[in-house]
């Protein structure tokens, strides 16, 4: 069994708390991504799982055994580093087999494992080359190969794609996912890129300031964020936030965005927000794809209004539009032939079925 459990894990450096009490259960075979901005504690957490950092307080268990004091080599884990950390004086094959050679595995078995891993990662022709003869993507594959041949309980990835260019990153993401499908080892993956998190993870753990903001599947996090941080972090371009108030108009619940704009809430939303204070300071969160061009036949819950665009970004399959409302810059996604022009007017529609209401003070999603 290769499940990983963190119980109230704390990491303190002198008086600074980098990780402030984390509880996490990772099931066997699961691919979990720790994501968050720089300094949120995700790398520190990963390194504590690896054994490269001491745990100030709390417990970490791998496969049901507490590993707090167990040295890294006995935890049966493998790690892929951001700058690959390949041994420069060894060939690819020697790099990959180093750990096995230290444990004195029989030569035949080492060869078999290297061949399998090399085939899986498509680096068979490279096994006799030295790292300096390889490109960045190839080096990263070798680093992964080194982890695979060990056949460990857990794979740990520390921002492995950060040093690659954008195109290569997309390719390697797919490689990593394919490897996980084949090998099915429990994986803990750290990144600051939420796209990687969303595309690779079975579950995503969003961290901020040493704490976990939310744990959930990518879809859950995208469609049902629990806090403002998660709502704003996940999704690109980011969610739009606008101050608003609830008000009752003619017996129906409305949401007021500005002096001129007030929309009636669709029934399900109205029911949910029925008990929210009408004087409370609230934020409405709308993803850009829910601000689109107004269609001729409006559907229930979709309300239209007029806006003057600041800037447009034609992306080919869609056009991103930026406009200002009540001093806030908002972003929307419209059809490329919707007639969006820099500085021009456009009639937009918001899809209130997919809105989020947040308490401005606590940042919690209601």
């Amino acid at each position: 069994m290769a499940d990983v459990t963190l119980r109230k894990v704390v990491k303190r450096y002198d008086d600074v708390e980098a990780v402030r009490g984390i509880d996490l259960d990772i099931a066997d075979h699961e691919f979990v991504v720790l994501v968050g901005p720089s300094g949120c504690g995700k790398s520190t957490t990963l390194r504590m799982i690896a054994g490269l950092e001491d745990i100030t307080d709390g417990d970490i268990m791998i496969g049901g055994d507490v590993v707090n004091d167990v040295p890294p080599k006995d935890r049966d884990i493998a790690m892929v580093f951001q700058n690959y950390a390949l041994y420069p004086h060894m060939t690819v094959a020697e790099n990959m087999s180093f750990g096995l050679r230290l444990k004195r595995y029989p030569k035949a078995e080492i060869k078999t494992r290297i061949d399998e891993a090399a085939r899986m990662l498509d680096i068979v022709e490279l096994v006799d080359r030295k790292p300096k003869q390889l490109s960045g993507g190839q080096r990263q594959r070798v680093a992964m190969g080194r982890a695979i041949v060990r056949n460990p309980k857990v794979f740990l990835f520390d921002e492995p794609l950060s040093n690659l260019d954008a195109k290569l990153r997309v390719q390697m993401r797919i490689e990593i996912k394919k490897v996980h499908q084949k090998v099915r080892t429990t994986t803990v993956y750290v990144t600051h890129d939420q796209v990687e998190a969303m595309t690779l993870a079975d579950r995503v753990v969003v961290m901020n300031h040493g704490r976990i903001e939310q744990i959930g599947t990518p879809n859950d996090l995208y469609h049902s964020p629990a806090t403002r941080f998660v709502a704003g972090f996940i999704g690109s371009p980011a969610m739009n936030f606008l101050p608003c108030r609830l008000e009752d108009v003619a017996g129906k619940l409305h949401i007021r965005l500005s002096d001129r704009i007030s929309f009636q809430l669709p029934p399900r939303r109205a029911a949910r927000y029925q008990n929210v204070g009408r004087t409370e300071k609230l934020l409405v969160g709308l993803r850009p794809e829910h601000i689109a061009e107004a269609k001729s036949h409006p559907e229930p819950g979709i309300e239209a209004f007029d806006a003057v665009l600041d800037v447009t970004e034609p992306m080919g399959m869609e056009t991103l539009i930026y406009f200002t409302l009540e001093g806030a810059q908002l972003c929307g996604r419209v059809n490329p032939n919707a007639g969006a022009r820099d500085g021009g007017p456009l009639r937009l529609a918001v899809d209130l079925n997919n809105m989020h209401l947040l308490n401005e003070g606590t940042g919690a999603v209601i």
Partner: protein, 312 residues
């Protein structure tokens, strides 16, 4: 995928007491290993450098046969000897003159080497470093032969210009010149190599900016090169001062301190007095005089380096 025979881990669920105890042993293992690895180094320095240094302090307070304690007796004896003050003066002149010229020549030659195209630099650099590679005892023999009273090759060449034979090692002033010359010949390449490495690390763009600003070659050196090389200049100067001040081989072989003790420096005189004269305490007293002077120089220069380091 290859299956591994999986051995269930024997690590039981740990209570917090065991956690703390094994954490301590883990820490200890790393520190003890590290300590053991540095132990030979520490022992070597403690027993063969630090202890003898203090021991020499003790020795300097004994009488010649090392039976009696005479306190500052040896030092008083030295202060009254004219030779001693001669040695002090000569050591200082020798060290300072030699180091100044070595640094200067090293700096100038480094510039010339830096100016020529990179491809050719290697062989010029190779030839210029030869004096430093040859064991000083061996090369000093060559100089001794070149300075020989009867057969000096230099005198032979000079005679063609009408310059009379020079008594390179016989005349006190020429002897001092010769000793300093040999030391410069031997030590300048070291400065050259260090300065060359440092010159290469000065970014070209600084020179380009200075050239555009209208600086001529002298100004470029003064305002760009020298400030960038301050640290290296300080370190090499300190290192060389110490080594030159404590020099033994050259003077010993070339003049044995003569003529009439006019080229004796601390090391050679300590050897004469301590080993040849079998008066170890007195010899130790002589050697010890080097130390305060070295320490003062070291403090000045090191303080300068750390101050500059904090500014940078």
């Amino acid at each position: 995928m290859v299956d591994v025979v999986f051995q269930p881990s024997t690590v039981a669920r740990a209570g917090s007491v065991r956690k703390r105890a094994s954490l301590r042993t883990a820490m200890k293992r790393k520190s003890t290993a590290a300590f053991l690895m540095t132990l030979p180094l520490i022992l070597l320095i403690a027993i063969l450098v630090i202890y003898p240094a203090f021991y020499s302090l003790h020795l300097a307070t004994l009488n010649k046969s090392m039976q009696r304690f005479v306190g500052f007796g040896n030092f008083e004896f030295l202060f009254r000897r004219e030779t001693f003050w001669l040695v002090v003066k000569q050591s200082c002149i020798f060290a300072i003159t030699a180091v100044v010229f070595k640094a200067l020549i090293g700096f100038i030659v480094a510039h010339f080497v830096h100016n020529i195209p990179v491809k050719g630099q290697r062989k010029w650099r190779g030839m210029l470093l030869v004096p430093w590679v040859i064991p000083p005892a061996m090369s000093t023999l060559a100089w001794l032969w070149l300075f020989d009273p009867s057969y000096s090759a230099f005198n032979y060449t000079l005679s063609f210009f009408g310059v009379g034979p020079i008594s390179w090692t016989g005349d006190p002033d020429w002897a001092r010149f010769s000793v300093i010359l040999v030391n410069i010949w031997y030590g300048a390449p070291f400065f050259m190599i260090m300065y060359l490495a440092s010159l290469k690390s000065v970014p070209d763009q600084l020179y380009e900016a200075a050239a555009i600003d209208g600086a001529n070659w002298w100004q470029r050196i003064w305002y760009v090169t020298l400030p960038m090389m301050r640290n290296i200049i300080a370190i090499t100067t300190l290192f060389s001062l110490i080594v030159t001040f404590a020099n033994f081989d050259i003077v010993r072989i070339l003049t044995s301190g003569g003529p009439l003790d006019h080229t004796h420096i601390f090391a050679t005189w300590a050897f004469r007095v301590g080993i040849e004269g079998s008066d170890i305490p007195l010899g130790a007293s002589v050697s010890l005089f080097m130390f305060p002077i070295l320490a003062v120089a070291a403090i000045f220069i090191l303080r300068d380096i750390t101050k500059r380091g904090n500014e940078a």
